[in-house]
Amino acid sequence: MSERVIIDVQGLVRRFGELEAVRGVTFQVREGEIFGFLGPNGAGKTTTIKMLATLLRPTAGTALLNGYDIRTDPDGVRRSIGLVFQDPSLDERLTARENLEFHALLYGVEAGEREARLRRVLAMVELEDRQHHLVKTFSGGMKRRLEIARGLLHYPAVLFLDEPTIGLDPQTRSHIWSYIHQLRRQEGITIFLTTHYMEEAENCDRIAIIDHGQIVALDTPDGLKSLVGGDVITVRTTDQAWAREEIRRLYGREVVEEDDLLRFEVERGEEFIPRLAADFAGRLLSVGLRRPTLDDVFLKLTGRAIRQEEVSATDRMREHHRRRFHR
């Protein structure tokens, strides 16, 4: 990873009437980095990407992408980026290859290198044997792979992936991630992605946690986790209310009640458990110890958990909508 800043965002704001979707975000992304935007739905992730991709004009602030200003030089920006949208944007009535050819022509990829480049991206996402099939026969995972291939076709400096694994099964998801890592290794491309899956954000070099249109933290996954301050202990006892007071009194820790578990943080959890067992002898039903996750970080920073249900509900609606209007 070089030290060159490839995306330089300065005080970006976007309002939709009364609603302030993005409320002044500032950050830098370095060349060759996998940079993640993590936050719940409606946090402003997609709006930010749209502004960086010149699909939406910022209300205030600006950004330099590959040296081009998103407000004054949209064509320079557009040549520098590849985009994979949250919703599919393929022509389902064309074949995989035709979709790629269309893109290559549109972006002016030189005729001499077009064929080689097409083969290379098709091989990368392992779709060579399906290249002559109509896209409407593809599964969700194959479509996403094809879109990633298409986003790479014109040698972009930055590849934007808006929720690249949304609506995909876990196996396909990890597949997509292996492509993303391979991409960075082989093409040295900068990857900017958004996600609301905590486990996936771990794949990023750095993560910006975004909530209500603002960045609340920006660091490496490990750096963010160290904000939580140690390991997470969860306990279940015969008398939770009493135990809660005791934990506070004995160890001076803040306790959060989660379902039927008490949850708190300590340093060096392994060494702490024997002490806990001794102090609560006879009343302890179960003890859990885990390293902090980004979920814990988000909870700590915003006081809320990223809820998965609301997302799947939107997915369902989108799917329903698509089926209703299917040609």
Binding site: L55, R78, L94, F102, L105, F325, R327
Partner: protein
């Protein structure tokens, strides 16, 4: 300029490819004018006698160029629905985010739509012997040119409207609202000169009228009923059509450039 032309070509190519894939749509679009021609044409010509001092000239012959014009109008207008489809299915985003001028996208769409519309009109030329019209090679060539011009004017208008439409339903609403008067007033079924004066005023505002008139000019060139069926000089028809086409494509390009 190079980017502009390349973009127009790519967008055009996609429209044509997609059209070629949709055999069912082609069949449907031929079926409709055929129905009009055979059922209405035959039915009406049995009932009405044309006030023409030309024995042997049938209503079917008079209506035939009108049916070609109608077919072009319908196909061209609805070809711009692909813009609304693309928006709904996300593909428009892929095009809008590309480093290409938006106006070129509109031009490509309009050209693609007019190509497919003209192709369908061309298929109708096969029916000529059926209605007793003889077409020479030169006539066919002229007819093709007129069809492309008419189709381009109509598609550009459709593009202009589609650029503002959010859903397929609302587009279809607006389209059917516009298409029927454009069709009825086009002189496809009755000549301009036989209509009441107030209607003549409205008919003169319908650009499709000039397309149909140009087609009659060419197709009925040697017919004894030419002076009855044809209203204006061919040059006048073409000039009006070309003027409408230019204005419409400029409007369409501008509407596209402004869309966010």
């Amino acid at each position: 300029m190079k980017t502009f032309l390349r973009t127009v070509y790519v967008i055009w190519l996609r429209e044509v490819k997609r059209f070629y894939r949709e055999r069912s749509r082609i069949l449907g679009m031929i079926g409709q004018p055929l129905l009009y021609l055979l059922v209405m044409g035959n039915g009406l010509s049995a009932t009405f006698r044309l006030p023409v001092p030309a024995p042997g000239f049938t209503y079917l012959e008079f209506m035939y160029p009108g049916i070609i014009g109608m077919s072009i109008l319908f196909t061209a207008m609805f070809s711009s629905i692909s813009i609304v489809w693309d928006r709904e299915f996300g593909f428009l985003k892929e095009v809008l985010v590309a480093p290409v001028p938006r106006a070129a996208i509109a031009a490509g769409k309009a050209l693609g739509g007019s190509t497919t519309a003209a192709l369908q009109g061309a298929i109708l030329l096969i029916l000529a012997p059926l209605v007793g019209v003889k077409l020479g090679l030169w006539t066919v060539f002229q007819v093709l040119l007129i069809m492309v011009l008419l189709a381009f004017a109509v598609t550009s208008f459709g593009t202009f409207i589609a650029a503002r439409m959010e859903s397929v339903e609302s587009f279809q609403m607006v389209m059917s609202f516009l298409i029927m008067p454009l069709f009825m007033l086009s002189g496809a079924f009755f000549p301009l000169r036989s209509a009441p004066a107030w209607m003549q005023g409205l008919m003169r505002l319908d650009p499709v009228l000039y397309g149909v008139d140009a087609l009659r000019n060419v197709i009925l060139a040697d017919s004894p009923a030419r002076s009855f069926a044809v209203q204006y000089a061919l040059g006048y028809d073409l000039a009006v059509l070309a003027g409408v086409a230019v204005v419409m494509i400029l409007l369409g390009m501008q509407a596209f450039a402004r869309a966010e």
